[in-house]
């Protein structure tokens, strides 16, 4: 039984040792190391992606995002819990913590991301109010038809003096072009995020859930793709630019890339469950026969304690 310990720590010959001195030396060594790295390499800081930037650099992408939000086809409108009940919660057999927790942060994208900010904006620019009323008094079937008509001709649309101009057709666009133009102006002014987030409490906008969910799908995804940071590019462990990222999450990120995780509709729950099981095994390794004997079998310990084993050998030889 190799794992059995016959004598304890204090039964061995001792050498003097200064913990405090060692502590200060280590503090100095790490301090110098960190100082050098910081001075030589600095740190990355790619500015936050803003609605202003998307509306200016990629107006069509921004307009498409707004259209998806209006017609409820965006990723959040169809997400399910914790945002709404319109999507499938992730499940693992009968287990679905997402469904059990239910809607915790209610979000309907059309209202939260587009209409509410424009209504707040209408206080300063009342001319938008009839447009918003025309939209909200229409049936949802009518709203969808308007959005679909705009989407059909979006590729042929132009920006004239910063305003969206759709080609003249027989199709009825309803109030959608005016809504989109007001939304574009709001975004270009740089205050869209604040009109989305900062209205429900006396707090400044420290909770940015809603504005982050506006750009999370296509715009942020496209941006991340160009920085080699999409999910399929192991984006979770990567840092922007040439910097090391969170390599300690390699196992978590790797699971997303391989089957059965990569082609599961409940990939997140499956990955998290696997991580939980693997972590529990590692945490309780001391109690798992077989696994806890691996270090003895690997024999790396002989290298670590080689001086001691040599000492023991000499000691025994001298005694015999």
């Amino acid at each position: 039984m190799p794992a059995k310990i016959t004598k304890t720590n204090a039964d061995y010959p001792q050498t003097p040792y200064d913990l405090i001195r060692e502590m200060f030396i280590a503090l100095g060594v790490i301090g110098v190391l960190v100082l050098l790295c910081a001075a030589i390499f600095s740190t990355p800081d790619v500015p936050a992606l803003t609605a202003k930037q998307v509306a200016t650099q990629a107006p069509q992408l921004f307009i498409q995002t707004a259209l998806d939000d209006l017609s409820g086809q965006d990723a959040i409108s169809t997400y399910g819990p914790p945002y709404n009940t319109n999507g499938q919660a992730q499940t693992l057999g009968p287990i679905s913590p997402e469904a059990w927790a239910g809607v915790q942060i209610p979000i309907m994208s059309d209202e939260v991301e587009v209409l509410a900010p424009l209504r707040r904006y209408a206080v300063v620019n009342p001319s938008i109010t009839p447009t918003l009323n025309a939209w909200s008094s229409a049936s949802s079937k009518q709203q969808t038809a308007w959005v679909n008509n705009v989407e059909k001709y979006l590729d042929k649309a132009k920006l004239v003096n910063g305003s969206l101009v759709l080609p003249q057709t027989k199709l009825d666009y309803g109030p959608v072009p005016q809504i989109l133009n007001a939304y574009l102006r709001l975004a270009r002014s740089g205050i869209l995020e604040d009109t989305i987030d900062g209205s429900h409490s006396p707090m400044p906008a420290v909770n940015r859930t809603k504005s982050l969910l506006l750009l999370q799908d296509q715009p942020a995804g496209q941006y991340a793709q160009q920085l080699n940071m999409s999910g399929g590019q192991w984006g979770i462990i990567k840092e922007t630019g040439n910097y090391p990222g969170a390599v300690w999450l390699w196992f978590y990120t790797m699971l997303y890339q391989i089957p059965p995780y990569s082609n599961s509709s409940s990939a997140d729950l499956l990955v998290v469950s696997t991580i939980l099981v693997v972590t529990l095994i590692l945490v309780f390794l001391p109690f798992i026969p077989g696994l806890r004997a691996i270090p003895h079998a690997l024999k790396v310990y002989r290298l670590i304690w080689r001086n001691y084993y040599q000492y023991e050998r000499l000691h025994r030889r001298n005694n015999t």
Binding site: L61, Q226, N228, I237, V247
Partner: protein, 51 residues
């Protein structure tokens, strides 16, 4: 109108093989970890009983 978003920086080089996609910086860190560990194992500790 259909233009792409432009990040202000270029991504670093990454090694891509099948589903692997590891940035050079991360590879360096991992190799450094293995290297430091082996060196720590092999180098004789000063004040030891080697001779």
């Amino acid at each position: 109108m259909n233009t792409q978003l432009q990040p202000p920086i270029q991504p670093g080089w990454a090694w891509q093989y099948s589903w692997l996609d590891l940035s050079l910086a991360d590879i360096i860190v991992v190799l450094l970890m293995v290297f430091v560990f082996i060196i720590a194992l092999v180098l004789p500790f000063p004040g030891g009983h080697d001779r």
